[in-house]
């Protein structure tokens, strides 16, 4: 029986492994952490329909609880070597797995907002990231600032670490705009009296229902959108934050004092993706994500035969896109194994 090793137990790795297991392949999933689920477990509700993340987690749990594929946790893959027709995957201290095909599903890491020092993350108490806010929302509807105040004025800052030469990231992380609109709506629902602003460069509502969410934010939630990039933030004596931008549509510099600043951090290619890509000699694109051999026609094929890409190791993706991409990776693996002689 053909054997597939999946590296990474986030939603991409689980979905791809399960599809292949259902097709009748033997699949082993290797996860470095002590539990499966990956980054998704950091979110609270999903755009555009505010679906609780628990539903996605339950779906994933039903997949790996089915025992259709083997899961090895707490184990990091450190080498992939070609041995004749096979791929030898070394993991942990002495685990060696012989595979006919490998799926890389190492996912992404969130941009470290400390790198944008002028925004004051971890310097000023009341500057948080979108991931911090997801965590607050996950833990209930009592939203207070880190200094213990119910916020009356909140600013969401788009493009933190994205589209930014200074952060070394030229690409648009594409999911932050809609995440900001989603979180702004959630804040308005919890704190109807709070003034909420979104500071953006361009609003990229690329998904089918994203523009409707933006419209809803304007119509029903009184969210104010200002076209301008935050230049700098400063802390006042009372721990409120002074932010400065240009309102580029009116052409005036603006300043405002807010109780809470939320930085919309983008997705970056993580350490694991770098490490796996280098050890298996996979091609990277200029943004450090893994490069498929063809951006339209072979999105799951890495530059090495038999090694396939699933999910956000190749680009930023939403949950929906990640699952689609993982299923298509499974089909590509199946096609490869059907057509290979070994």
């Amino acid at each position: 029986m053909k054997h597939i090793v999946t590296i990474g137990g986030g939603i991409a790795g689980i979905e791809a492994s399960d599809v292949l297991a259902e097709m009748g392949y033997k699949v082993t999933l290797v996860e470095k952490e002590k539990s499966l689920g990956g980054n998704v477990s950091k979110w609270s509700y999903l755009f555009p329909n505010m679906r609780p993340i628990g539903e996605i987690e339950d779906y994933m749990k039903s997949k790996y609880d089915s025992n259709r594929f083997t899961v090895i946790k707490n184990t990091e893959v450190n080498q992939i070597k070609r041995k004749k027709d096979k791929l030898e995957v070394s993991a942990g201290d002495e685990l060696k797995l012989i595979a006919d095909s490998v799926i890389v599903a190492t996912g992404f890491e969130v941009f470290d907002a400390k790198r944008k020092e002028e925004y004051g993350y971890k310097i000023y108490d009341n500057v948080i990231t979108s991931v911090d806010l997801e965590n607050m929302l996950k833990n209930g509807k009592n939203i207070t600032t880190p200094t213990g105040k119910i916020p009356k004025k909140i600013a969401f800052i788009h493009c933190v670490g994205s589209r930014d030469e200074k952060s070394g990231n030229h690409y648009c992380s594409k999911l932050c705009c809609v995440t900001s609109v989603k979180q702004a709506i959630e804040m308005n629902e919890i704190l109807p009296d709070a003034e909420i602003y979104c500071l953006y460069i361009d609003l990229r509502m690329y998904g089918l229902e994203f523009e409707e969410l933006y419209l809803k934010a304007q119509k029903q939630h009184n969210i104010q959108f200002i076209r301008g990039k935050l230049s700098e933030a400063a802390e006042n004596m009372d721990k409120t934050i002074l932010i400065k931008a240009e309102d580029t549509l009116s052409g005036y510099p603006i300043k405002m004092n807010v109780d809470l600043v939320v930085l919309l951090v983008g997705m970056e290619s993580g350490k694991n993706t770098q490490q796996i890509g280098k050890c298996a000699n996979l091609s990277f694109n200029s943004n450090r994500f893994l490069q498929p051999v063809d951006p339209h026609l072979a999105r799951n094929n890495s530059s090495q035969a038999g090694i396939f890409l699933a999910g956000t190791c190749s680009s930023p993706m939403s949950v929906k896109e990640t699952l689609d991409n993982a299923r298509s990776a499974a089909v590509e693996v199946h096609k490869y194994l059907m057509n290979s002689d070994h």
């Binding site: 200074k166 460069i201 301008g228 990039k229 400065k244 240009e246 580029t248 052409g251 510099p253």
Partner: protein, 119 residues
């Protein structure tokens, strides 16, 4: 201009792309090609030392140059104090101070018609 009838016609506000005065723009781009990558985020203007005190918007001035409207350049460019804070925040990594210096040089080099100075 003769004004026999006691009234005049206002000049059109339309930016005419068929009569694009791009002499200064081409000079700037030749020496600082990154200038074309501006996405008008306004970070430069927000942090601008001069712009926070007086009516000076370096983003709008630069956009005017890219749109072939260099008329007010000469009056505007002298408001820049060359402090360079805009370079620190620019997400496209444009050397804005060099752009300003190149515009100053180009103004001398090409000496374009300038309404403010001629009037």
């Amino acid at each position: 201009m003769s004004n026999k009838f006691g009234f005049d016609i206002s000049p059109s506000r339309t930016i005419d792309f068929d009569k694009f005065d791009n002499q200064i723009l081409q000079y700037v781009l030749q020496h600082e090609s990154s200038f074309m990558t501006c996405m008008s985020c306004g970070g430069c203007t927000a942090t601008c030392s001069a712009g926070n005190l007086i009516d000076f918007n370096i983003r709008k001035m630069s956009l005017g140059l890219r749109r072939g409207k260099p008329e007010s350049l000469a009056a505007e460019i002298d408001k820049c104090m060359l402090c360079g804070k805009c370079i620190l925040v620019c997400p496209r990594g444009i050397n804005i101070r060099n752009v300003v210096m190149l515009i100053k040089k180009a103004l001398v080099k090409f000496n374009p018609k300038n309404d403010e100075r001629n009037n």
